[in-house]
């Protein structure tokens, strides 16, 4: 074996003044593809960024590129979170802005973005189309960047990475927000580029991974610990096994109407592009739904209609909590009844609020807290802070926390007011498997009291047990609505959904 590709000696790293990596050593040799897994907050992202030299370069990280290789001698890092910029290099977009049409386009199209990327890196333009197709992205070529959902932005980053085939590719939680087919195809693509010489460092807690991974590690107490292929499960975070806080468990949720949602032939289009086609859907009080469909099938648009975030709600025949939408209600009256978490909400959430303020802002449906909520709400918030194991971060600003911890705070925010309708759009993105399981158990507990639930999740094994009904979207239309039988084996239902989706 020749020179190691990456050699890290005694790396010490701090994240917001706190040490995360302590005298970490790591050697990556040629032909090795590593999986890095473990709990959120253990330092995976910090390490990845350090290797990629995102913010600084470090003297004790040596990277030896292969001079014989015809692949670009570079480390390419795909972040778990991605902020895109408009044509002027600014990135201050706001929540749900993509739904408010303002004619002057200020962001580039996907096509233009790819062209400039390809040109800059001297790539072959004929190669990109098959990557786009594999990740289900071809249709989006003419969209502007602001029109993309967070999952789609993530895919665009992946497209670029795979097209580039860097000598070292670091992917941080690449599967977040990807549908089942895209995940499989991504794995195939990763296997292909690894075959061509790209080496991978993959950060993920998922189960289905590319077969080319051959080394596995976790970060424990600031150090890298190698594990075997089947040792990789999350741990920690047992706090969620505590009983659900009393103020949430005791109160039964009163529904303001027997019919929570009723959509009659709902349509949404942008120009000639139809995003939702004749949707008919009824959700009755207390029902527990899962909403599924491939990326771009219209799930997030559908949910944004329900949450009062989409202007086209006013042009449709659509009832919420028993009232026709657009009959004089304000969106704040609607939001008051809904507990929402979504990738979009997280993405645009006020990063300068503390964990405590963020959770409490759930009482007002605002991003950040703007008024004094009074004593009893503070007590309830405190209970949730403890329940989610966030005591030590209570007064920490959101942007000083790793994504997994931010997500926990936002999950607490979602349920803090014990709303009559819970909308959980991929709530567990960025959490490890254990955390996901715990959170879903909490959802099950909450839902016993009459809460109505709409849950978006791609994997059957990662859904709460209380789900009884499924609505499946395909290309903007309802493909099927069905009752899910109880006690179906997990295995069977995974197969089931895969057959269903494709």
């Amino acid at each position: 074996m020749s020179q190691p590709v990456v050699h890290i000696a005694n790396l010490n790293l701090k994240y917001q003044q706190k040490p995360v990596l302590q005298d970490l050593n790591w050697t990556i040799n040629r032909y090795e593809n590593w999986l890095l897994c473990g709990t959120s907050g253990s330092g995976k992202t910090s390490l990845a960024k350090a290797i990629a030299g995102v913010d600084h370069s470090y003297g004790n990280i040596k990277i030896e590129f292969n001079a014989q290789s015809n692949l670009p001698a570079t480390v390419y890092y795909v972040a778990n979170w991605f902020q895109f910029k408009d044509l002027e290099g600014q990135s201050n977009f706001y929540y749900q802005q993509r739904y408010n049409k303002q004619s002057t386009e200020t962001t580039a199209t996907v096509k233009a973005e790819l062209e400039s990327f390809g040109k800059k890196n001297a790539l072959q333009f004929n190669e990109v189309d098959s990557i786009l197709a594999a990740l289900g992205f071809s249709e989006l070529k003419h969209s502007t960047l602001i029109q993309l959902s967070s999952g789609e932005h993530k895919k665009l980053q992946l497209v670029k990475a795979i097209w580039l085939k860097p000598q070292l590719l670091i992917l941080d939680l690449p599967y977040n927000g990807l549908d089942t087919l895209s995940r499989q195809n991504l794995n195939t693509l990763l296997e292909e580029i690894s075959e061509a010489g790209t080496q991978l460092i993959l950060i993920s807690n998922d189960e289905e991974l590319p077969s080319c991974l051959n080394r596995f590690a976790v970060i424990k107490e600031g150090q890298l610990v190698e594990i075997s292929a089947d040792e990789r499960t999350g741990n920690e975070f047992d706090t969620l096994d505590q009983a659900v806080p009393a103020f949430l468990a005791e109160a039964t949720v009163a529904s303001s109407s027997a019919e929570i949602i009723k959509m009659i032939d709902v349509n949404v289009s942008y120009g000639d592009k139809r995003v939702l086609k004749n949707i008919n859907w009824e959700v009755k009080a207390g029902e527990k739904w899962v909403l599924q469909g491939h990326n771009g099938s219209g799930k997030s648009t559908l949910l944004s209609l329900i949450c009062g975030d989409h202007p086209q709600a006013y042009a449709n025949n659509f009832h919420l909590f028993g009232n026709k939408r657009g009959s004089g209600e304000s969106i704040w009256e609607i939001k008051e009844r809904i507990g929402l978490i979504s990738p979009e909400l997280h993405w645009y959430f006020d990063p300068s609020a503390t964990v405590f303020q963020s959770i409490m802002s759930g009482f007002y449906d605002s991003s950040g807290l703007f008024c004094d909520p009074g004593y009893s709400k503070k007590i309830q918030t405190d209970e949730l802070v403890s329940y989610f194991g966030l005591d030590e971060y209570k007064n920490t600003l959101m942007n000083e926390l790793p994504l997994g911890k931010q997500r926990l705070a936002l999950l607490a925010r979602t349920i803090v007011k014990n709303p009559e309708l819970l909308i959980l759009d991929e709530p567990c993105q960025g959490l490890d498997q254990q955390q996901t399981k715990h959170f879903n158990r909490l959802v099950d507990g909450l839902c016993k009291n009459g809460t109505t639930l709409i849950y978006v999740g791609h994997f059957e094994s990662q859904l709460p047990a209380c789900i009884e009904k499924r609505i499946l979207l395909e290309n903007g239309a309802v493909k099927s609505v069905e009752n899910i039988l109880e006690n179906v084996e997990n295995e069977a239902s995974i197969e089931n959904v895969e057959n269903f989706e494709y």
């Binding site: 086209q312 004089g328 704040w332 303020q357 703007f370």
Partner: protein
């Protein structure tokens, strides 16, 4: 038509200039009820029109748009803005007669033409709403006596009005009722309800008057907001190039520096901005800003005097009549400055470096903010109004410079502001010529602290801190900012 303000007796002039009441949130408990079920028709669907309308509809109000026929037929951007968001759009004839409230959100220059066209179509007892009072105050537009005339003026660009609303907040807003047109006494209640509809009530509302809003708005935009930022940027760039600093670096420092520096104003006022400097730099910035204040004071006073007397608006309206001859010539000239034509270099400048290497701009901003505020207050404008039109808006304008330099700033601001900005800039540069000969790269382009030992005289520092903190713009600013970001003051322990 003649200048409304000039028709008033002195007593009434002072009276209206002095309307200024920072409203308690309890005043808004009735929400949007006064406007519930009423027909709101917005004229124009540009930056303010679209975003105010989106908010009002999301607050449960009935909103539609009317555009001039040409815009509808030509499917212009404003037509697309409205229809793509599923609003009803109609001609004046179709919609104005049905309206309970007509909201005029067309460019100020067009107001006389627009209001003259729509007024005969308005039903008896309807309300006409503005977001800026120029037409009423400076042009003396006369509105039919049965019509109520009110103003709701968000103190932020339209996109911000929307962004803050969707995150559950709002932007600071001025409201006013025109005393000549409140026949039924309902003006204030409607203005408050409208303000709730746009979300403004969550961020601090100032009850003002048309007169106070216009006279302070014009003053702010001409001097500190646009005028001084333009002058300061150009002089700083030219100085760096003259002293051999790389032009790309200079361009970047100036383009983005003004945004980074004024961002500090948002949170901690002038004190907060000055606190970003090292002690020696702070003392230096204080000293030169005192000097700048002395040099520029007569110019600020002249602008305020011309605004009060109506001299400014009549000169500008003469230029309107001449097809914007001066405005267009000055705009072209601004596009030709060396700063404008030098692209920002591909260099990384850390946040703190913008303060350390651009002490001169910190001094410009402090001098401009304090002078504008002081001059307005001396002229009879209340401190709250003066605060919004000086310190509060400075970072918002600076943001436009960061986007695309001065050309962008002048494109985004109103023609009125742009005209005043050029007037100021042309007069200010010669005034500062002597001062600038003394400026070296330690103040602009290089780190002020380089080669200094950081020692300062303690008493001097204490005196400076005291002077900064007790300035009236800081005292009032602390109070108003608290209302704007209530969250910041909440005890979470």
């Amino acid at each position: 038509m003649s200048n409304y303000f000039n028709t008033l007796p002195l007593r009434e002039q002072l009276n209206q200039l002095g309307v200024c009441d920072f409203m308690d949130s309890a005043e808004f408990l009735d929400g949007v009820n006064v406007l519930k079920g009423k027909k709101l028709v917005i004229v124009g669907c540009g930056a303010q029109g679209l975003n105010q309308g989106l908010n009002l509809r999301d607050s449960g109000l009935d909103v539609s748009y009317t555009l001039r026929a040409a815009a509808i037929e030509g499917k212009r951007d404003s037509w697309k803005n409205a229809t793509d968001n599923n609003f009803t759009v109609g001609t004046y004839e179709e919609l104005i007669p049905t309206a309970d409230v007509v909201i005029n959100l067309t460019p100020d220059k067009q107001h006389t033409a627009v209001v003259t066209a729509i007024m005969p179509l308005m039903k008896k007892g309807a309300t006409l709403l503005y977001s800026h009072g120029f037409n009423i105050v400076e042009e003396g537009m006369q509105i039919r006596k049965d019509i109520t005339v009110i103003m709701v003026a968000p103190k932020c660009p339209g996109s911000e009005v929307r962004a803050e609303y969707v995150r559950g907040f709002g932007v600071p807003t001025l409201i006013a009722v025109h005393p000549e047109n409140d026949p039924e006494g309902k003006g204030l209640a409607q203005a408050k309800a409208y303000c709730v509809g746009t979300g403004g009530h969550r961020a601090g509302v100032l009850k003002s008057s048309f007169v106070a809003e216009v006279k302070s708005d014009l003053m702010g935009e001409q001097t500190i907001l646009c005028g001084l930022l333009q002058t300061g940027s150009i002089l700083s760039f030219d100085k760096m190039v003259e002293k051999g600093i790389d032009a790309g670096y200079a361009s970047k420092l100036v383009q983005y520096g003004v945004e980074v520096i004024t961002e500090a104003l948002k949170h901690g006022g002038v004190t907060g901005m000055m606190d970003r400097l090292s002690n020696p730099a702070k003392i230096k910035a204080f000293e030169i800003s005192e000097e700048l204040k002395n040099i520029m004071r007569p110019l600020f006073q002249k602008h305020q005097d011309d605004i009060m007397s109506g001299e400014f608006s009549s000169t500008m309206m003469a230029d309107w009549a001449a097809g914007d001859k001066n405005l267009l010539a000055w705009r072209a000239a601004t596009g030709e400055t060396a700063f404008e034509k030098t692209p920002a270099g591909d260099v990384k400048i850390a946040e703190q470096e913008y303060f350390d290497n651009y002490t001169l701009m910190v001094a410009f901003v402090r001098a401009g903010v304090e002078l504008a505020f002081e001059t307005m207050v001396q002229a009879g404008i209340k401190p709250e109004s003066a605060y919004y039109e000086s310190l509060h808006e400075t970072p918002l304008i600076a943001n436009t410079i960061a986007r695309k330099k001065l050309f962008e700033m002048n494109r985004v601001i109103s023609d009125t502001a742009e005209y005043g900005c050029y007037l100021f800039d042309q007069a200010c540069k010669p005034l500062l010529a002597d001062f600038m000969t003394k400026v070296d790269t330690d103040l602009v382009g290089k780190n002020f602290n380089e080669g200094k030992d950081g020692g300062v005289d303690n008493r001097t520092l204490i005196a400076i801190n005291e002077a900064l903190r007790t300035h009236e713009v800081e005292v009032i600013g602390t109070k108003l900012r608290k209302a704007m970001t209530a969250m910041k003051s909440i005890k979470t322990a």
